[in-house]
Symmetry: C2
Subunit: 438 residues, 2 copies
């Protein structure tokens, strides 16, 4: 029986520091749960000063991370440097040296998960990535194990805390996007270069991973349709609220008989749903199983300790299993190798959705009737139609309209027809609506 | 490699039927996730007619459940008859016959968990009980594994769907308790004898189990302080709402340095908290970890398929581990045997809490001042004080008061002093408040 587990930590950044802290401060508690002494045996970090600020003298510090993955005393490598360049090489080297790997790197798993999982299978080691999706929320475990008896029908998630913070501020404090972003940066909720977050790329990495483990399909980041929130106008947040909806940046994936939807975009959801009330930098994932119905998982999606909490959960899983003949009894992607089967990912034009549309029209009599006529000609139902007050300076009126379910390419045709009307004075705003019904 | 797993199902009731249904309808999906064919090999059910309605001809039906636990073809026994009598004997016999046991029986685990866990350890089999707490929500797995890196600081849960439905109806539709209970019974959300639910016993079973796996303490049902909702008056739900709170029946457990709180009672919680918006028959559990902060888990806490979803998750966990040298690598109660240590469970008199108090006083001048004076004499702060309208027929006025944090025995003293005042016309209502701050 192996009572000591030596961790090799790559990266002394936010999550690396958090992981070291948890393993140290909760050392006894973790021993109570595993019967193992889990220690950070070595840290790989170029910045030696930074390294020494974090670890004590007993911890070996490697300047070159390619040395740590070869260290024979180390059982588990934790990759926390991010990105898809050197981190990929390091994970590969660690696996080839028959070490288990834990990573918080969503980009790496979303973009190179397939080959890394194959390599891990080949070497009979585990590749764990709980921290890669929704930070401290144990959502990988919940989908892959807790809900394993279900066919998952769909998942929607608030998967990016930065954008959720910005959207909350835009709504609660009537801020424009730029102002809310600046505030998020000042408070440390957004990075200096926020594009990965605000353009939806980060959420797309995460929903890609969730889709794979929910449906048993290959990880396919290139197939995600991605729209961020940088073009979202504050007035649409307000108008949506007036008709009973909140706007959230959602990762959405749905399972159909012979296809899968995989998309990230700002979405109107009914304000009465629990997930609509997840505010600030928090994350939440709503999972619909064919037997359990809807379940929701909420918590901090980022930050040092919450993310490290997920890393340490993966360490504990490994520690509890090190005596097993196989440590990879839970398939890395939730499904056994031969049962992971590709499915067509629907183009965004081919999805069916309700839509929120906002038209900026010259306020002439009959303009609403003209819009309605276009919908009637296409036999498309209209659920709600609201005319906002007329702007005094230019006589332009906002008209809000909610459609029934319609294929996106059909709504695009209608939009094109209305956009060329002489009364139309601006680009028509189109947002998708999810009712989130079971 | 064992590719077929034979299940022995005891009980063809709601959850038994649901379990059979999931294993059948999701057979292929479960194979995709485990590589195993999992079938109900035999069913034990006294009512042969009922049994035949559920299972097909290939399934053996035992009239005597003590025969199924001895069947050498069966790898896993699922106990779904409930109660703590014969079910206990059956689980013991199954374990003694070296079979893994899965149960949805919260009363059994809460009242006899200690001895059953010991017996399972002795025989090196697993005893799984995900379905015993919060139905389809994978809360046992989340606390025991997903949050294992944390010291859990406290857990509060809406753990009983019947009472949450009743409280929701009382609030939303202005119903008295009796009316809402009758409605819950008519809709199948409450049983003919609802006392286990409405008196808080069911929630107490569940919070007892959660406290054990969260803190590493023995299961100790006898130590829970239990109050139900049958004495709750609708007017307190309304008054609470007016000052920003919702009333929920919560299971609460908190970890202190040398003691633990363990209690079930109607509780005021801030309406802005996500868990306050969990309505109808749904369950939710809010867990505070020392590193991850708060995480919340929401879903159906009862019903055939949701509960069976958790049973099947346990089956899949076992199926994925059957090749391991040890299938009990995750400690049954989350902590290794020698690290489960008793802690003093605080008497309810010794807990510290904010309180909501309602006084029914004769409307005489100075009556509010007299109440305030008692608090001042005891140096107890008052947060909110509201006088409701005077009832015309008897001139009695409701006075609502919210205290600062105070030890319960001290608030009891104050209540006793005020209760004997000549102006006091009724029993003083005392409800506890939880702010749910991180």
């Amino acid at each position: 029986m192996q009572n000591k587990i030596n961790i090799g930590l790559i990266g002394a950044g936010t999550v690396g520091g958090g992981t070291y802290k948890i393993l140290k401060e909760n050392f006894s508690e973790i021993f109570r749960k595993t019967g193992k002494e889990i220690i950070v045996f070595a840290l790989a970090e170029k910045d030696l000063k930074r390294a020494k600020e974090i670890v004590d003298d007993k911890t070996i510090v490697y300047e070159d991370a390619f040395d740590i993955v070869k260290d024979k005393n180390i059982h588990v490598i934790i990759e926390l440097i991010g990105g898809t360049g050197v981190s990929k090489n390091l994970v590969e080297e660690a696996i080839k040296n028959n070490k288990h790997v834990i990573t918080a790197n969503k980009a790496l798993i979303a973009m190179h998960g397939e080959e890394l999982v194959s390599l891990a299978r080949e070497h009979n080691v585990n590749l764990a990535y709980e921290a890669a999706v929704a930070g401290g929320i144990p959502i990988i475990k919940s989908v892959r194990e807790g809900l394993a008896g279900n066919k998952i029908e769909w998942i929607v998630g608030i998967l990016n805390g930065t954008t959720n913070y910005i959207l909350t501020e835009m709504k609660e404090n009537n801020l424009a996007f730029d102002v809310a972003l600046k505030q998020a940066q000042d408070l440390g909720f957004a990075e200096a270069d926020p594009s990965f977050d605000i353009e939806g790329v980060d959420a797309a990495h995460k929903i890609t991973i969730l889709a794979s483990i929910a449906f048993g399909i290959p990880i396919n980041f290139n197939a995600v349709h991605i729209e961020g929130i940088s073009n979202l106008e504050q007035k649409d947040i307000i108008f949506a609220e007036e008709i009973g909806y909140k706007i959230k940046l959602l990762g959405i994936t749905k399972h159909h008989h012979d296809s899968v939807e995989l998309r990230v975009h700002p979405t109107l959801i009914p304000e009465k749903k629990l997930v609509a009330n997840v505010d600030g930098p928090m994350n939440a994932v709503l999972v619909q199983g064919n037997m359990v119905g809807p379940t929701l998982y909420y918590g901090a999606g980022a930050g040092a300790e919450p993310t490290a909490s997920a890393v340490v959960a993966d360490i504990i899983d490994l520690a509890r299993n090190l005596e097993s003949t196989s440590t990879t009894h839970i398939p890395i992607l939730g499904f056994i190798k031969d049962e992971i089967k590709p499915k067509k990912i629907l183009l965004i034009e081919d999805i069916t959705s309700e839509f929120y549309l906002r038209f900026s029209m010259q306020n002439e009599s009959g303009v609403v009737e003209k819009i309605k006529q276009v919908f009637e000609l296409h036999s498309i139902g209209i659920g709600v139609i609201v005319q906002k007050e007329i702007k005094k300076d230019d006589g332009i009126i906002d008209i809000i309209l909610v459609t029934s379910n319609i294929i996106e390419k059909n709504i695009n045709e209608i939009i094109n027809e209305i956009e060329v009307m002489p009364e139309n004075k601006n680009k028509i705003v189109k947002l998708r609506i999810e009712q989130l019904n079971s």
